[in-house]
C-alpha cells in the first residue's frame, strides 16, 4: 500500500519524461542538462524531479534549462535562473546556509555526540571489574533444577 500510494502519486498519466525532441545535439550539453534537471523538483508533482516528470510544466522547465545551457550559462547560473523564478522549493538539495544548517549538520552532529557517549560508555565498561552475578531467587532455583533434570 505504501508503494502503491507512491506509484499512484507519481504517475497520473504515462507520457514518459524526457521526449526525443528535447534532447540537445551536443552530448556534453545534454549530459549537463540531465544532471541539472535531476536536481530540480517539478512544482506540481509529488517528490518528482523535472527529469522524471511527465507534467507540462516540467517539460517547459526542461526546455528552459536547455535553452540557458545553449545560451552559454554555467550550471550554477541555470539553477539560479530557475530558483529566481520558481523559488527555493524547486531545489531538491537545499543549499548549505545558516537556515538549512540543522538539516545538513544533523547527521555529523549526532554522530559526534552519539560517538562521544558510546565511547565514554565503552571505556567505563573497560574499567569495570567483572561483577558477581546476583543470586537466583528460590523460584528460579527450583526452575533451574527442573530444567536440568536434577
Amino acid at each position: 500500500m505504501i508503494r502503491a500510494a507512491l506509484l499512484a502519486l507519481l504517475l497520473a498519466s504515462p507520457a514518459l519524461a524526457v521526449q526525443p525532441d528535447e534532447i540537445l545535439p551536443d552530448a556534453g550539453q545534454e549530459a549537463r542538462a540531465r544532471a541539472i534537471t535531476r536536481e530540480l523538483r517539478c512544482v506540481v508533482c509529488q517528490a518528482e524531479s523535472i527529469d522524471d516528470s511527465h507534467a507540462d510544466i516540467a517539460r517547459d522547465l526542461r526546455l528552459l534549462v536547455r535553452q540557458r545551457i545553449v545560451a552559454g550559462d554555467s550550471d550554477q547560473q541555470v539553477i539560479d535562473y530557475v530558483v529566481a523564478r520558481y523559488g527555493e522549493f524547486v531545489l531538491f538539495r537545499p543549499p548549505f546556509n545558516a537556515r538549512n544548517a540543522p538539516l545538513w549538520l544533523a547527521g555529523p552532529a549526532l554522530l559526534l555526540v552519539g560517538g562521544g557517549i558510546a565511547f565514554a560508555f565503552i571505556r567505563r565498561r573497560g574499567q569495570a571489574p567483572e561483577p558477581p552475578r546476583p543470586p537466583l531467587s528460590p523460584e528460579e532455583e527450583s526452575r533451574l533444577r527442573d530444567l536440568t533434570g536434577e
Binding site: 505504501i2 502503491a4 502519486l9 540543522p102 527450583s142
Partner: protein
C-alpha cells in the same frame, strides 16, 4: 449480510481487545493467575474475529458488491480476480484492516507459541499488544469504516488505480505490514519489561526472534516495492527517497540496530536500556510511517488541516504510544543498569558502533523527511529535500558500516585484538582492492562510484567467507576436520554470513546502477534499427491489443548483439478506460550482469514512436542482495537457539509475578 457480519466481528474484536488490555494487566499486577490466563484465549479470539471481518470485506470485493461504498470506489466488475482480492487492501480502509489482521495475528502467535514465557511477562506483553489493537480498532471504527453501505448502489465501480493492478499489490503491502506490525511485538516486550523492571538474557532471547521475523518481512517488503517501481514506472528508477519510502526505511534501519543490540543483551547482559529504547523507537517509526502516509501531512500541511479527523486521531495514537513509552522509559530505565565488563576492542564495542551508525543514518533520513514540514510550519517557506540530499548525507554512514563490518564481525566477545582480526581479513582486503582496480579499468568516465562500491562489496562478501573459513579453521586442522566443522556450524552463523554478504551484493548493484546505467531516448519508426551500447535494437511493429479491462499498444522489439539474437521484447502502453488512465509496462530482459529495459512512449508527430532503452548493469544485485539478507535472517530464525517459541518447559513451574 456477510458485510454486516464482518462489521459486527470488527466491533466484537474491539471489545475483546479492550478486555485483553485490562484483565491480564491487572492480573499481572496483582498476581492473580486466572486473570493473567485470560490473555491467551482473548488473543486467539481477537485474531479469529479480525480474520472473519477481513474475509467479509474481501468477499464483498470478490463478488463486486457495489452497495459497499469501499468496493464501489475501488473496484470494478471487469477487473481480474487476483486484483479484486488484492484490491481489498489497495485503499486506506482495507489496508487498515490488513494492518489489524497482522497485528492480531502476531498477538495470537505469541499467545500460542509463548508457552515458555513467564506468565507475568506473557500477560503484560499481550496486554500491551491489545492496547495497540484497541487504538487502531477505534481508529477504523470511528474514522475509517470499511463496511459502510451506499443507499444507491452504482451499476459498476470506479475501478482500482491501474498502477496498482499488478501482482506487486498482492505481495508488497502484506510483507511490508508484516514487518511494520511485527515490530509491535518488540515494543510490547519492551514495555512489559519496563513495567516488570527486569531485562535479562532470557528476555532478549524471547524478543530477538520476533524482531528478526519482523525485520525479514520488512526487508522483503521494501525490496518488492523497489522491484515494482523499477518495472512499473517506465524508466527503471528503483528508489526515490520519497517520504513514503523513507518512512518504511527508518524502521528497517532501527530494527536492524535492535537485532544486533539484542545479541549483546542475550550474550553479555549489557546494553539493556539501550535495547529497550531501540525496541520502542523501531515501532515508533512504524507508527510515524502510518501517520505520515495516511494523514497526508507531508503532501501538504493544509490538506491535513482541512481533513483533520483521521490525522488528529492518528496523532493522538502516536502521542500516546510514543510519548507514553518514552515517559515510562525515562522513569524505569535507570534501574536497568548493568556492570558487565568488556574491552575497547571487542565484539561488544563493534556492535555499539554498528548501532551508532545505523541509528544516526536513520536520524538523517528522519530529519531530511521532516525538514520541509518543520520549515513550513516554523517560517512559512516551502522547501524540498530530495534524492541529491539523501545520496550525499546518507551514503557515508552506509559506507562506514560496510568498512567496519567484516573486522568487527570476527572480534571475540569481551576482549579482542585488532591485529588478529585484520590478519584474518587480509585475503578479503586484497580481493576488495583487486575488484576496485578491475572496476576502474573497466569504466571510461573515471567516476569513483563503482570502484568504491565494488571494493566495499568484495570486502563484505569475501569478509563473510573469510569469517566462515575462520570458523571451520580452514587450513589449520586439515580438510576433513574443516568439512566436519562446516557441517556442524550453527545456522545462525550461516545466517550472519549470508546477510552480511547480501549487504555487499546490494551495494554493488546500487553503485553500478547509479554510475554505469546507459540510457537512450529516441523516436523510432517501425522497421528502424538503432544501437545502444553493444546491442542493436529493431522496432518490428506496434500493434493494438486488448486486455480484460484495458486496451494497449504493444510493440515488438528485437534485440541482437553481434548478429546473435538476445531477446524479443514487448513493451506496452495500456489505457484503462474506467479511470481514464494510462500506464507503461516496460519490457525487461533480465540478466545476471545487466538488465535490458525497453519502454514504449507516445507516438511522435512526424511518425514513429518514442522509445526509451536502458542498459541497467547489475540491477538484480540490488534485490538479490536484499533477498540474501532476508534469507540470512530466516536461516538464523531456524537456528535451534532462536527458534520462535523455542525450548518448551518440561513441567510448568509457577513463577511468582510481582
Amino acid at each position: 449480510m456477510v458485510v454486516e457480519l464482518g462489521h459486527v466481528a470488527l466491533i466484537v474484536a474491539f471489545l475483546v481487545a479492550v478486555l485483553q488490555m485490562v484483565v491480564p494487566m491487572v492480573g499481572a499486577h496483582r498476581g492473580w493467575a486466572d486473570w493473567m490466563r485470560v490473555a491467551t484465549p482473548a488473543a486467539v479470539v481477537q485474531f479469529a474475529l479480525t480474520l472473519a471481518a477481513f474475509l467479509a470485506l474481501m468477499w464483498a470485493f470478490v463478488v463486486s458488491d457495489f452497495s459497499v461504498r469501499l468496493v464501489a470506489l475501488n473496484s470494478h466488475s471487469a477487473k481480474p480476480l487476483i486484483y479484486k482480492i488484492a484490491g481489498t487492501w489497495g485503499n486506506h480502509e482495507g489496508s487498515m484492516m490488513l494492518w489489524m489482521l497482522i497485528l492480531t495475528l502476531f498477538g495470537a502467535m505469541v499467545a500460542l507459541a509463548g508457552g515458555n514465557l513467564p506468565p507475568g511477562l506473557k500477560a503484560r506483553v499481550l496486554g500491551v499488544q491489545a492496547g495497540i489493537a484497541v487504538a487502531f480498532f477505534g481508529f477504523i471504527i470511528l474514522t475509517s469504516n470499511p463496511f459502510a453501505r451506499l443507499t444507491d448502489a452504482p451499476l459498476d465501480g470506479n475501478d482500482l488505480n491501474p498502477l496498482l493492478q499488478d501482482p506487486g499489490l498482492a505481495f508488497h503491502p502484506p510483507f511490508l505490514y508484516l514487518g511494520y506490525v511485527g515490530l509491535s511485538m518488540a515494543y510490547s516486550f519492551a514495555i512489559a519489561a519496563l513495567i516488570e523492571g527486569r531485562v535479562d538474557a532470557a528476555w532478549a532471547r524471547w524478543v530477538r526472534p520476533w524482531t528478526l521475523l519482523a525485520w525479514v518481512f520488512l526487508t522483503i517488503g521494501i525490496a518488492f516495492g523497489s522491484i515494482w517501481a523499477y518495472y512499473e514506472l517506465g524508466w527503471g528508477g528503483w528508489w526515490f527517497w520519497d517520504p513514503v519510502e523513507n518512512v518504511s526505511f527508518m524502521p528497517w534501519l532501527v530494527s536492524c540496530a535492535l537485532l544486533h543490540s539484542a545479541i549483546v543483551v542475550e550474550k553479555r547482559d549489557t546494553l539493556k536500556s539501550w535495547t529497550i529504547l531501540l525496541a520502542i523507537l523501531a515501532f515508533s517509526f512504524s507508527l510515524i510511517g502510518a501517520f505520515v502516509v495516511r494523514s497526508g501531512i507531508l503532501t501538504s500541511v493544509h490538506s491535513f488541516a482541512s481533513d483533520p479527523g483521521r490525522g488528529m486521531f492518528l496523532l493522538l495514537i502516536l502521542g500516546a504510544f510514543i510519548g507514553g513509552s518514552l515517559t515510562l522509559y525515562a522513569w524505569r530505565a535507570p534501574t536497568l543498569r548493568s556492570t558487565t565488563a568488556f574491552a575497547i576492542v571487542s565484539r561488544e564495542s563493534g556492535l555499539v558502533l554498528n548501532n551508532l551508525l545505523l541509528v544516526v543514518a536513520a536520524a538523517v533520513v528522519f530529519v531530511g523527511t521532516m525538514w520541509p514540514l518543520v520549515v513550513e510550519v516554523a517560517t512559512g517557506r516551502k522547501v524540498s529535500v530530495g534524492p541529491p540530499f539523501f545520496n550525499l548525507a546518507f551514503s557515508p554512514f552506509m559506507m562506514a558500516i560496510a568498512v567496519v563490518l567484516p573486522v568487527a564481525a570476527v572480534l571475540p566477545w569481551k576482549r579482542g585484538r585488532l591485529g588478529r582480526a585484520f590478519r584474518q581479513m587480509r585475503g578479503a582486503l586484497a580481493l576488495a582492492l583487486a575488484c576496485a582496480a578491475l572496476a576502474w579499468v573497466a569504466e571510461t568516465g573515471g567516476s569513483m562510484t563503482v570502484p568504491v562500491g565494488a571494493a566495499l562489496a568484495a570486502w563484505l562478501v569475501f569478509g563473510a567467507l573469510s569469517e566462515l573459513a575462520g570458523r571451520i579453521r580452514l587450513g589449520e586442522v586439515g580438510l576433513p576436520e574443516s568439512l566436519r566443522r562446516l557441517g556442524s556450524l550453527p545456522r545462525a552463523d550461516w545466517g550472519k554470513a549470508l546477510a552480511h554478504a547480501g549487504l555487499g551484493v546490494t551495494i554493488l548493484g546500487v553503485a553500478a546502477m547509479s554510475a554505469w546505467a546507459a540510457e537512450d531516448i529516441r523516436a523510432v519508426r517501425e522497421g528502424e534499427s538503432f544501437a545502444v551500447g553493444p546491442y542493436t535494437l529493431r522496432l518490428d511493429s506496434v500493434a493494438s491489443t486488448r486486455g480484460p479491462n484495458y486496451t494497449a499498444e504493444t510493440a515488438a522489439v528485437t534485440v541482437t548483439r553481434g548478429g546473435r539474437s538476445v531477446a524479443i521484447l514487448h513493451p506496452e502502453k495500456r489505457m484503462y478506460p474506467v479511470q481514464g488512465m494510462a500506464t507503461t509496462e516496460a519490457a525487461i530482459d533480465r540478466g545476471f550482469a545487466r538488465d535490458l529495459y525497453v519502454a514504449l512512449g507516445d507516438p511522435q508527430p512526424d511518425g514513429g514512436h518514442a522509445l526509451r532503452t536502458y542498459v541497467k548493469p547489475f540491477a538484480n544485485w540490488i534485490w538479490g542482495g536484499a533477498m540474501m539478507m532476508a534469507l540470512g535472517g530466516i536461516a538464523s530464525l531456524t537456528d535451534r537457539r532462536y527458534r520462535v517459541g523455542a525450548p518448551v518447559r518440561r513441567a510448568a513451574v509457577p513463577v511468582a509475578a510481582e
